[in-house]
């Protein structure tokens, strides 16, 4: 078991009770997909795992170690082992693709060297290697904001690979991409999951993508888990429970 979450609650300062007692275990090598409506707590759950959001109560264990209340250097050690990919890519727009990928290594390098932007040839080679994994080596020296959305997301994946993550969190990674690009970006997540054995936890909206890539599905509604099982087991009944009576599945190809 790589990740174990017990009775996790998150209450934001404005009083929103985003997570209401989440219990979840994730095994090594899984491709876990979390589904649910916007506002159901999917993002908050991912962000609690790597402490971009501080959980209010409950327990999070990562690699058998309680990381619920770690701080400072200890927390950075945890973050180094958990990669994260965002819906809005969150690249540094004005810098080159290569620099963006290199930032994934910051936690491993001495502060001073990174502030004068001195990276050893081995690390640059590693960055190029990761760019090759996502298939955009030729764009290495272009400014990040000159890339298309799908390419930017692949750079973001390469950046997280620099961390050699045990766990990769993906917060709606394809929600701002078109259907064709979505699928190609999802294939890179699959590649990372299968080739490097990296555990992936991914928030998704489209069930067609869920059925294709997930090894297990968890559905959230109003901050609680209401379904847990295989993607093939989500039938019309479950679909309406998760997305509401009015919902109708739209096929994305």
């Amino acid at each position: 078991m790589i990740l174990n979450i017990e009775n996790l609650h998150k209450i934001y300062d404005n009083g929103t009770h985003a997570l209401q007692g989440i219990d979840l275990s994730v095994n090594e090598g899984e491709f876990l997909v979390i589904i649910g409506l916007s506002g159901s707590g999917k993002s908050t759950l991912l962000r609690c795992i790597n402490h971009l959001v501080e959980p209010t109560s409950g327990k999070i264990e990562f690699l058998g170690k309680d990381i619920t209340h770690v701080r400072g250097q200890e927390l950075r050690e945890v973050k180094k082992q958990i990669g994260m990919v965002f819906q809005q890519f969150n690249l540094i727009k004005r810098r080159s693709v290569l620099t963006n990928v290199l930032t994934g290594k910051l936690g491993y390098l001495p502060t001073w060297n990174t502030l004068i932007e001195k990276f050893s040839p081995e690390i640059i080679a590693e960055a190029m290697q990761n760019l090759e994994t996502v298939g955009i080596t030729e764009k290495a020296h272009i400014r990040a904001d000159n890339l298309s959305g799908g390419q930017q997301q692949r750079v973001a994946i390469a950046r997280s690979l620099m961390q050699k993550p045990k766990l990769l969190l993906a917060d709606e990674p394809v929600a701002s991409l078109d259907p064709a690009t979505s699928n190609s970006v999802m294939q890179y997540f699959e590649k990372v999951n299968k080739e490097f054995g990296t555990t992936v936890i991914c928030n998704l909206h489209f069930l067609s993508l869920v059925r294709r890539y997930a090894t297990r599905v968890v559905a959230l509604k109003a901050g609680s888990i209401i379904y847990e099982g295989l993607p093939s087991d989500i039938d019309d009944n479950w679909f309406r429970t998760i997305y509401g009576e009015e919902a109708e599945e739209v096929e994305i190809r």
């Binding site: 973050k79 082992q81 930032t103 910051l106 936690g107 990174t114």
Partner: protein, 354 residues
């Protein structure tokens, strides 16, 4: 308490505390409103407008009495939850009484403020159309439009001095402003209690420095280091640091959170996050503010010269004191031309670096 009840207890406690704080604020504001109304009605409207007194009677005991009366009235009024402040802080009861009082009292406050402002400003139609006044104005305007070119070379040196005072003040201000702006950016300083405390102290301090006009700083420094360009430069420097630190820190607060989150998620430390996620986003706005500030400082340096800060302002003051209006006319024209050129150049530079 079981762990399951805990979150709901937290939510409830939070809401209750917020409501209490809002009501306290409403009470304080209502006390102020009542106190303000009584004082303005008594002093401006009754003494000045109705009795037309020249000397205002003043007694602390009277003010104290009015204050105590307003504390009681304001507290009662806000507690009834039908007052203007209760409405403003969202703790008012929904009722016709609330709507009526807020509307009436709002109008009342606006009107007494306008009337007392009119009285205090001593607005007078007679003064602006008096023949004597118009004569004097004509004399000065006439001289200004027939400038005396004898002093052109002196004035040119003086105005160059002014431009350099502004330039040096702006350049020296950059490093301290950078450091201060990071320390006063809320989004960078909210993580720990000590960081937030120093953020708060620095903010208050900078607000204080900024609230003192460069003109007053110039008076202080002309006593400290002696009258001249040096005093003017330090005055501008102090004010530039305080103002730009605020602008810079607001630019930092306005940046995209996404890249910060992304870099933080890689396990990078604070300095690395600032260098990779914050700095690239703020370089251009900072440059733009700094160039604009140079432009502002040239104008301010002129004013500061009036109180002994050196440059063209000091020269203007001397000729104005001697009532040599034609010379003053030349200086005013030169200032206008330089300010116009600076304005144009800085606008062009700022456009090109966007």
């Amino acid at each position: 308490m079981s762990s399951h009840e805990l979150p709901h207890a937290i939510i409830g406690a939070k809401k209750e505390r917020e409501a209490r704080i809002s009501l306290t604020k409403a009470i304080l504001l209502d006390i102020f409103f009542v106190f303000y109304s009584i004082i303005v009605l008594q002093r401006a409207v009754y003494y000045k407008l109705i009795l037309d007194l020249r000397e205002m009677p003043f007694a602390w005991s009277e003010i104290g009495f009015i204050f105590i009366a307003s504390v009681i009235l304001g507290a009662l009024w806000a507690s009834s939850r039908t007052s203007l402040s209760a409405k403003l802080f969202g703790v008012a009861r929904e009722s016709k009484v609330t709507d009526l009082t807020t509307e009436l009292f709002g109008w009342f406050l606006f009107n007494i403020t306008f009337i007392s402002g009119w009285i205090i400003t001593k607005i007078s139609i007679v003064d602006i159309f008096s023949p004597d006044g118009i004569d004097g104005a004509q004399r000065i305007f006439g001289s200004l439009f027939t400038p005396e070119f004898n002093i052109f070379d002196d004035a040119l040196f003086a105005i160059i001095e002014t431009i350099y005072i502004a330039l040096i003040a702006t350049l020296i201000s950059i490093p301290p402003t950078l450091v201060l702006s990071f320390l006063t950016a809320r989004n960078l300083m909210k993580d720990s209690k000590t960081a937030f405390a120093s953020y708060y102290v620095l903010r208050v301090f900078l607000n204080f420095v900024r609230s003192i006009e460069p003109l007053i700083w110039a008076i202080i420094f002309s006593v400290w280091v002696g009258i001249g360009p040096y005093a003017g430069m330090i005055a501008l420097l102090v004010h530039t640091i305080a103002s730009n630190a605020k602008l810079y820190s607001e630019a930092i607060e306005g940046i995209e959170e996404g890249p910060i989150e992304a870099i933080a998620a890689t396990g990078a430390n604070k300095l690395q996050i600032i260098w990779y996620a914050v700095v690239p986003q703020i370089v251009l706005p900072f440059l733009s503010f700094t160039i604009y500030r140079w432009d502002i400082n040239v104008r301010m340096a002129t004013i500061i010269g009036l109180v002994g800060g050196g440059g063209i302002g000091t020269m203007l003051m001397q000729y104005q004191g001697l009532a040599l209006w034609k010379e003053v006319g030349l200086i005013v024209i030169m200032i206008a031309v330089v300010v116009w050129i600076m304005d144009y150049i800085s606008a062009k530079i700022r456009e090109s670096i966007k």
